[in-house]
Amino acid sequence: MNSTQAISSAPLAVETSGVVKSFGNYIALRGIDLKVPAGSTLAVFGPNGAGKTTLIKILASIMRPTSGKILIEGLELKDNVELLRARLGLVAHQSYLYSNLSAWENLDFYARMYGLDDRSKRIGEVIDLVSMTGRKHDRLSTFSRGMQQRMALARALLHKPPILLLDEPETGLDQQALDAMWDIIKREEDGRRTIIFTSHSFERALAVCNDVVILERGRIAYKAQACTLNLDGLKQKYQECTAAVKK
Amino acid sequence: MDNAGYIVTAFGVVWIGLFIYLFVLVQREKALRKEIAALKEDMKKA
């Protein structure tokens, strides 16, 4: 399947089959099969240590799976790493930004790394998008947790990735900052972007996602369309899956 | 030390060194056997 034909016909932005990740004897992921259609939003729930962060890092090509296949837009991640990284954006717990440098310098550095040509224009756009224009020349070390998270989002959106990965974006953000963030993510690219995010707040996640997955000790314990669920239904399902852990 | 003395010490050093190393390896093996035995007990008990 040559690459051009793959991108146009494949409706799936992200597809994983049998993804396993083990650290020595500890097995973090025990075979993950996911199909995420382009443009859809997938919420991933699960207790701590279920393998959520590991999954996100593997999809972002930062971590290599021990075995299994990952297709991004129909292309094998392993063989087209550098091409596909330009189409993936990641917001993790850490901002990946340098505290000695200013917001602008940080974004300028990553713009060069992503090989963007109209750097200053794009940086200006993204900084306005996360409404940090006033602080763009201040050093990162002077930023609050919320501002750093917004800068991390700016960094992830810098190269306009069609696929955005978020690892518990709500950590360290108050309600208002969280609403602002989701508004930014949704407004850019008017919904054509595929989003996969891990979360602990059911209510917030249900409001934004199309599909839901519950991870439990490295396995997918439950998979459903968001529209078929209400908040209580989801919580009840979550108890069932994680209850198995306590037994 | 005359000539022969050096030779004897040289050979001696290597032989003794080898025996010490072999002794260390055998000790490791004994410790391992003990651990395996202990594990077997736990297995039976559990």
């Binding site: 890092k57 290599r64 990284r85 330009a86 850490q94 340098y98 505290s99 000695n100 990553y110 790394m113 | -």
Partner: protein, 223 residues
Amino acid sequence: MKFWNSVAAIAWKDILSELRTKEIISSVLVFAVLVLVIFNFAFNLAPDLILQIAPGILWVAFAFSGVLSLNRAFIPEKEENCLEGLMGCPVGREAIYVGKALGSLFFMVLVEAVILPVFALLFNIAVLQSGLITVTLLATIGFVAVGTIFSALAVNTRAREMVLPILFLPVVSPVIIAAVKASAISLNGQSWSDMTIWLAIILAFDIIYLTVPFLVFPYVIEE
């Protein structure tokens, strides 16, 4: 072409980030001058004796200030976890190695550019000779090529300040020996032909330790 853009970006980021705080540069310079001063007391140098051990002193100062600054090379990537950000960029993992190496090279050359005049001042030896400069530059390239990958290795271990010197100094010892011998030759005013063998050794070291780490570096940083 994109490879070299990202290499330049990483090196420039390191330089900018360091010039902003100047914490590494200032401490390394003070340390290097201290080494020269200590050697001065240690040997209460008779004029003719200096020429013999001058290269040795110089290279002890370079070696240990080099280790000091290389210890800090991967701190931002490790402390602020930015390494994963770099790994997410659409560029080979080797670019991170070359970029960081260039950054460290810039700082080591900067430190040397300050130590040499100070050395000339303290020990009144004419230091600005083309032979000595080329030897120092060539040796520093080898130094930084090995030091960068060992720094990436050490930063992930428990006692990182100790691991780097232990791994790094024995492996880089041939360059230090060759550099000291070549510097001695150039300081004694002998011609280039006398030190070709030493330059060849340093050059061989540079070539080996620019290619092998280049191939092995991805294994150091991947999860």
